[in-house]
Structures are given as structure tokens and as C-alpha cells.
Amino acid sequence: MTTSLPVEHGAEPTGTEDNYLTCDRGIKSWIFTLDHKRIGVMYLIFTMGSFLLGGVFALLLRTELLTPQKTIMDADTYNQMFTLHGAVMVFLFIIPGIPAAMGNFVLPIMLGAKDMAFPRLNLASLYLYVLGAVFAVLAIAMGGVDTGWTFYTPYSTETNTAVIPMTIGAFILGFSSVFTGINFIVTVQKLRPKGMTWFKMPLMLWSLYATAIIQILATPVLGITLLLLIIERALGVGIFDPALGGDPVLYQHFFWFYSHPAVYIMILPAMGIISEIISPFSRKHIFGYTFIAFSSIAIALLSFLVWGHHMFTSTQSPLASTIFSALTFSVAIPSAVKVFNWLATMFRGRLVLKTPMLWVLGFIFLFGIGGLTGLFLGALATDIHVHDTYFVVAHFHYTMFGGPVMAMMGGLFYWWPKFFGRMYKENWGRLSALLVFTGFNLTFFPQFIMGIRGMPRRYFNYPEKFEIFHQLSTIGSYVLAFGFLVVFFTLVHSLFRGKKAPANPWGSATLEWRCPSPPPHENFIEPPLVTDPYDFSILEYDEASDCYHLKPSAKLAEDGEVA
């Protein structure tokens, strides 16, 4: 489908007629491609497919919860559904979603490089992703898994569902994630062109770099943990199962040592996207660049010290809980700093309320609720009550959906013209953002109320008093699904009917907007001119082509400076 796009570009002179989609044809040219953009596009298709699969599971879950007891499925099926929903969304969608799909595409171009440092490793990471996904699908085909995406022992040791294929899948996906992380770090360290200093890098690159640190340092722990679980299940070696002399709480420590940092693998690149969009759509330089950049690094490092806040009721010692609680609050500070700087960027700007910006505004609203409700969970006394209730379910959907998914959608609408060279219908895009925002709040806000009132999570059956909230939530999920249908339709429609995209439709100053849409195979024919990524005074708007261009004067000044 995408390979047959026409070979035309925006008004920007390009020097070449072919772009990355058309320079090479045939299925083999995709399977064996080393082009980071093609790998990114394939990641995008697979992660979006996973999002659809996870979303279908979610709709089935919500439909089941319309009434207490059985609505459309029995308890065992329900247990499998929420496990698969969580596992697919976490391991196949959100973790690879922004870094591997979007990061792969934009990181080298934003940096001004021709490709990743290790293109073959990049392709290998895609292959591993597909292999991991095959194992996950195999697990579903073998009757599913019913442990919850957390695979807590000793339940995961003794349940007779397909735990081993699913954990092998997650194990392999972990390697895929590590490969991506290595590539990002080495690319940012080594492939910066002349003039691209650390502090001229777009903030997206800082956040992808911070993400990569977590991917490399935390993911191996998950791999080892899942391997130990597989060994225990398959060989009966006592590691976590007390019946075999193991310790089930040890598993939780190992698991969260990865899985808490993993939530920052999800949110950090999302924050990067927000910084990229909010500045050009406010027509104003980002405020507090250094603070936003270093807050990403701070979040990455602090994320390793807070895993125990998932375990306040796990029988870990009160002293440990106290220390983890204190450390947890420290992560709130760099996140708050980012939000304030984004608001300051909007202050006295000229806000362009196009689709990407609407997703960003939605992000700030939803992530604000997600972050602030985290205070209740980091605080010891209140966490004891709301832990493992719908309050937590609502909280992590506000952070993991309100954060990464909103940002990913924003990024998708922002970079779509760059990815595929087509403009979508602006008003349809805006409508989709509005629908998703509304549906999301209707789905998850009632869950805060239920949770505080004591509704435990992962409950097939529930007391009558919670029914009204479950029903509101289910209706919300249908609105949400409809919103994504509009997203899908808007984007696919643009591929066939959309206006050809110019090189720089939004007036962004980062380097990916200097090459044509879609970019040529090698991104840049000549090393691009590195400028301040948020200085829009170097651009001028050309009404005829509806495109922004570099002012000739800026070009000269920069040349002089570089020389």
C-alpha cells in the first residue's frame, strides 16, 4: 500500500526524485531493509495492530463488566482477557510504540544523520519483536494466560495456562527493546553531525536517550526474572514458590525493578513528543530547554529507585516501604517541572489549535490527573487503602493512556505528513482527538470513584453498588473506540485522498522538516544546517506552497557561524 505512493514532494527543492518509500520496491525490499524509516514504519504497523488487538480485549472486558456475574463470558475467560489486554498493551504496544516506531523514524533525521549507528541491529530488533509477538499469539492460541500481565508467583507457577510461551514472548521482546536502546544511545553519541551539540538537540532526542538508558539497564532484569520463572515452572527448581523453598515476594521485587522503570520507557518519549509539538504550535521557543532536558535524565535515573512503591502491602518491611515512598515522591518533581515549562512555552505564544496541538492539550489535562492521583499512591497511608483497586486502574490508564497514547497520537498526526507525504483532513483529526478525550474520561473517571470506595481490580463479579460506575465506564469505552475509528479513517483516507504534504507544513525548526516529505532514502543529501531547534525566526511562510522555508539570511548567518 505505502510503496505505491507517488514520487512527488513539497515545494522544497530536494535534489532527488525518489523517497524512502519508492526508492526500492517489492516485499523483499521491506523485509531486508536497513533503512531506519522503513523499519520505523513496519514497527508502526505492528504496534498499531497490537493496539487494535489489545483494544478489542479491552472492549470485551468492559462489555463483560456491564453487569455483575456473567454478561458475555465466564470468570476464567475474563481472567484471560485482562491478562492478554495488559500483556499485549504493555509489551507489544506501549513499550515499543513511541521509541521503536516513531523514535526509529525521527531520531536519525532529527539528529541530521543518514541512519542509525547499527542498521542491522535495528532490523534484528524488529525481527525479535515479531518473534516475540508470535510467541504471544501462540500463547493465546494455546488457550491463553490467566496470571495478569504481572505473572505474579506462585500463581504463575501453578496455573495450567500457557504461561511459558507468553513469558518467552516477553523475554524476546525485552531483547528487541535492548537492541533499540543500544542503537539510540550510540547514534546520539556518535552520529551527531557538525554543529549538532548536545544542547542543540531537539528535546525528543534527550528523552529518547533517557529512555534508552532505562531500556538497556532495566530490561535484562525482566529477562532474567522471566527466565527464572520459566525454570521454576518447567524444572520445578524452587526460586519463587514457597512450596519449593522459594520466595514469592522476591519475584515482585525483581519484576518491579524492571516494570517500574518500564513505565518511564513509556512516558519519557511521550514527554519528548509534547516538547516537540508544543513549541512550533505555540509559535514560540520552548521555555526552559535545559530543565526539560535534564528532567528527562533525572526521571530516568530516579525511576530505578522507586519500584518498592508497588509493594506497600506485599509484606515488605515498613522501613522499606517508607524509604520507597520518600524516593517515589522525588520523581514527581521533574515531571512537574516539565509541565510548568510547557505552560510557560504557551504563555504569550500564538497557539495554533491544529490536531497535534489538541492531542497535546489533552495530554496535559489527562497526564495532570494521572500524575496528581499518583500522589495518593506514593503516600503510604492512602496507598494501603487504594492499592489493587480500580483507583490504581484509573491512575495508570490516566498516565499510560493519557500520557503515551495521547502523545503518540499527537506525534502521529504531527509527523504523518513527514512519514507518508500526505495531509489529513484537519477537522476530522480534531474531531478524533475530541472523541478520544471525551470517551477516555467517561471510561476512566468513574473508576477513580469505584476504587476509592473499595472496588478491587481484576474482579469478574462485583457488588451491586458499583454497577452504575461500571456501566458509565463501559459506555465511555465505546465512545473511546469510536474515536480511534475516526483516527484510523482520517489517516488511511489521507493516504489515498490527502493533499500532498509540503516539507514543512507546521513551521517547525527541527531538522526532519528540512528534508522533503516523505524523506529520501538517505535523509539528507548534504549535511543539514544545524540551528536552534526551537528558533522559528529563521523560517518564513510561503503562502503559495503553504509551506515554511528557511530564510536565506539565516542560512548565511549559520554558515558563517559554522565556518
Binding site: 518533581i333 492539550l361 495532570g368 496528581l372 453498588k465
Partner: protein
């Protein structure tokens, strides 16, 4: 429902509170205070962020021809201020929540201890006198310490009204404590996912008014006891007369076995009026002392008594402990029929164990529908195919073995869901006997009509 209810008030709780549920313990008040504290701080910051965002969207909306006003791209002072403010806010929240947490974590030294067992998919509570029940009964006027363990996988004790939650982990003990502030019944949930029946692993906590707990525990734990209770007396006056002036050997034996207080009490009675409660209680206590002693059987003493078949059968077994007490009660009933009942109703006791103490009901139905385990309806006396090809008849021995070694002989079709833990050491022989009596009763065999 009142018809003036608006949409929002319909979502409120019966006591009008919107967020937190009923608060029924000392820690609930603490937690609710911390909750409100964080709530208002969050609400303030959220309102601030959304207000600024919307204000900027309206005020600084892009219009053709307008350019951005020049403004610095960073400001160290502002950055330091908005780093310091969140730091101070979260440090305060941490401290406030930590203080409340210490109160709800450290139990007072004089707390009344109850043992909790979590297992798929029920809660069982072991009281200090050994009685076990599937509901948590507590005195309302004392601090309670729950010492919890798991028979299988991880569960989590969650009492929303007390704002308490603690995992119950196999291989270790976990503890929580509380002091209730309201009498009544409150929900208990399992909050750690534990498989098929997770959402049905719920029960209640009953907080008793002063004295109520002790009364409940005495009543409940005497359910199976073969000793005599006041309500077992069917003719107190006749019994008292027999002891005061009966001439048969059994009456003489009782009279000579009385304590000094017993003798004085019976002598003070006029021999004809209905005994008052004090005398009844005295007689019960005297007779129970005799029942709990050695066997009262003596061929000469019982020469003129017709010994019932049930009594003879029990005597054959040379019973010990409670069964010995039961034998004495049978013998005494044979000698003095119509004055008091022969012992607890084993079918009723069996039902109580089925529903409560054993928690059997959570997996075995009485309506013929298979749940986690086979239904008990009509199972007694039938032959069943087992996993492994064998066929057995469900009799006393099979039921007993299934309780002590549940995995030894699993009924065909239940292997995959067989999660039953052993009840060895958790149910006495007498209790197992009661379950068997219950399963043999007309209601459970289905032979009622």
C-alpha cells in the same frame, strides 16, 4: 429512592459521602484526613494547570498577522521556584502520610489476636478457643490483631471500611491491626488476584457491641460440643427431682458425685417448683463436670437401663475426648430419657461446618451444579469414576479421605481445577463426622420427597 434525587446525588453513598466509603475504625479517620489533604492539594494544582492552559488557549490563540512577542527562553529564578514548590509540597505529603502509616502499622501490645487463613477462594478465621468461622467476628471495644497466613498462593485481606489492606503470602505470616469505631457488618474482599474465584473471595466482618462477641463465640463454639447447655433441657424440674430424690443407681451416682455447691443448691430447692435460672445453670455445670470425667458406664449401675443402639455402637469404639463426653451424654440420656436432648444436632452442625467453618460451600454446591468441585447433591452412596480409571462408592471413608487427602482420589473431570487443600488437623474427627451426617441427610442426598 427519593424522587428528588439528582444525577450527581444518585452517585453519592448512603451516608452522603462521595469519595471514601463508610469509616469504621480508628485508622480510617487518619487515612481519610490524609486523603482529603492530598485531594485538596491535587485539586488546587490541577485547577491551576487547567486554568492556565485554557486561559492561554483563549488569550493567545493564533490570529493571522500577529507575531509572537519577544520573551526570554528561560529564567533560572523561575525554574528554581517551580522546582522548590513541588519539592516542599511532596515532602509535606510524604510526612503526613508516613505519620498516619506508622499508626496503622504498629499494633498496640494488648491487641486481641485472631488467626486468618486465606485459601482459594475463601477466608477462614481461627478464634483463640480454636473455633473457626468463615466470617470475622470481633469485639468492638478492643484493638484486634490479625495474624494471617495462606494455604496456597498470595491473597490480600482488604477491609475498605477500615482502610486496611495486607497481602497474605504463603510461607510467611503477615499482620494487621485495627480498632473498630462502629458496630455492624462490613465487607472484606480479596485484593490480590488469585484465579477463577478471586472476585467471590469475599466475606464480612461483624463488629459486636460489648459482650456480644463473647456470647457469639460461646454459642458458635458449643455447636458441636457434647456438653449440656441450658437450651438442651426439656424438663428441668424432673431432672432436678431425679437428682434430689431418685432411688435408681444412676441418680444415686449423680447425687454422690455432686460438688458441695451442687449438693447445697439441690437441697435448698423445694422439690416441686420450676427451677430458677441459677439452679438450672448449677445443674448444667454439675452434669457437665460428670460428663467430662471418666466413663460413667458400669454394668451394675446400668443394669436396669435400656442402652440405645447408638450408645452401644459408640461404646464399641472406646472413644476418647469429646466422643467420650458424648458417650457419657448418651448413657445419661438413656437412663433419664425426656429430661434433656441427646446431644447436638449433627446434621445442623454439619451444615454449619459446610457453610462456615470449613467453607465447603464456596466450591461444592447443594443444587447439583458443578462448581470448582463436585456438587454434594445426591453424592452420598453413589458410585463415581475417578481420575485414573478407578470407580468408588462415596461412603464415609471416601468423604473422610477426601477431606484429609483431597488430591488422593479426584473425581473424573475435576483434576484441572482441583485446588482443595488438606483439612488434616483443621477439622476434628467429630467435625468430619458432622459433615458426613450432613451429607447423609435427606436434604443433601436428595431423598427428601
Amino acid at each position: 429512592m427519593a424522587n428528588d434525587m439528582t444525577g450527581i446525588s444518585m452517585l453519592a453513598q448512603s451516608d452522603g459521602r462521595f469519595w471514601m466509603p463508610d469509616a469504621a475504625s480508628t485508622s480510617a479517620a487518619e487515612v481519610d484526613w490524609v486523603f482529603s489533604f492530598i485531594f485538596w492539594i491535587s485539586a488546587f494544582f490541577f485547577a491551576l494547570i487547567v486554568f492556565l492552559m485554557l486561559f492561554f488557549v483563549i488569550r493567545y490563540r493564533w490570529r493571522k498577522g500577529q507575531e509572537t512577542k519577544a520573551m526570554p527562553n528561560s529564567n533560572l529564578t523561575i525554574e528554581i521556584i517551580w522546582t522548590a514548590i513541588p519539592f516542599l509540597v511532596v515532602a509535606t505529603i510524604f510526612w503526613v502520610a508516613f505519620r498516619a502509616y506508622m499508626k496503622l502499622t504498629v499494633p498496640p501490645s494488648n491487641a486481641y489476636e485472631i488467626q486468618v487463613v486465606g485459601q482459594k477462594w475463601k477466608w477462614l478465621f481461627e478464634y483463640p478457643n480454636g473455633w473457626v468461622d468463615d466470617r470475622l467476628h470481633v469485639p468492638g471495644d478492643r484493638a484486634i490483631l490479625l495474624t494471617m497466613r495462606s494455604e496456597d498462593i498470595i491473597h490480600s485481606m482488604f477491609i475498605p471500611a477500615f482502610r486496611l489492606k495486607m497481602d497474605v503470602v504463603p510461607g510467611r505470616y503477615s499482620k494487621i491491626w485495627f480498632k473498630a469505631t462502629k458496630n455492624g457488618t462490613f465487607d472484606i474482599y480479596c485484593a490480590e488476584y488469585c484465579g477463577t474465584g478471586h472476585s467471590d473471595m469475599t466475606t464480612q466482618i461483624v463488629v459486636h457491641a460489648p459482650g456480644g462477641y463473647e456470647r457469639w463465640l460461646r454459642e458458635a463454639s458449643s455447636l458441636l460440643s457434647p456438653t449440656l447447655r441450658i437450651q438442651d433441657l426439656t424438663d428441668a424440674a424432673a431432672l432436678a427431682r431425679k437428682i434430689k430424690s431418685g432411688t435408681d443407681p444412676v441418680s444415686e451416682f449423680i447425687r454422690t458425685s455432686l460438688t458441695d455447691a451442687g449438693t447445697a443448691g439441690i437441697n435448698a430447692w423445694n422439690g416441686s417448683s420450676e427451677p430458677n435460672d441459677a439452679l438450672k445453670a448449677l445443674l448444667i455445670s454439675e452434669i457437665n463436670t460428670i460428663l467430662k470425667g471418666a466413663s460413667i458406664y458400669d454394668p451394675e449401675r446400668f443394669a436396669s437401663v435400656t442402652v440405645a443402639a447408638e450408645t452401644a455402637a459408640l461404646m464399641e469404639k472406646n472413644p476418647e475426648g469429646e466422643d467420650q463426653v458424648q458417650l457419657n451424654r448418651f448413657l445419661l440420656s438413656d437412663a433419664m430419657p425426656d429430661f434433656f436432648t441427646r446431644g447436638p444436632d449433627m446434621v445442623e452442625a454439619g451444615r454449619y461446618i459446610y457453610e462456615r467453618k470449613g467453607g465447603c460451600a464456596s466450591c461444592h454446591t447443594l443444587d447439583g451444579n458443578a462448581n470448582v468441585g463436585p456438587s454434594f447433591l445426591g453424592i452420598y452412596g453413589r458410585s463415581r469414576d475417578l481420575e485414573g480409571g478407578e470407580t468408588i462408592t462415596v461412603d464415609e471413608n471416601y468423604i473422610r479421605q477426601s477431606i484429609i487427602e483431597p488430591q488422593a482420589k479426584v473425581v473424573l473431570g475435576y483434576k484441572d481445577r482441583s485446588v482443595m487443600p488438606t483439612y488434616k488437623g483443621r477439622l476434628s474427627d467429630r467435625e468430619i463426622g458432622a459433615i458426613i451426617s450432613f451429607m447423609k441427610s435427606a436434604e443433601v442426598t436428595g431423598n427428601e420427597k
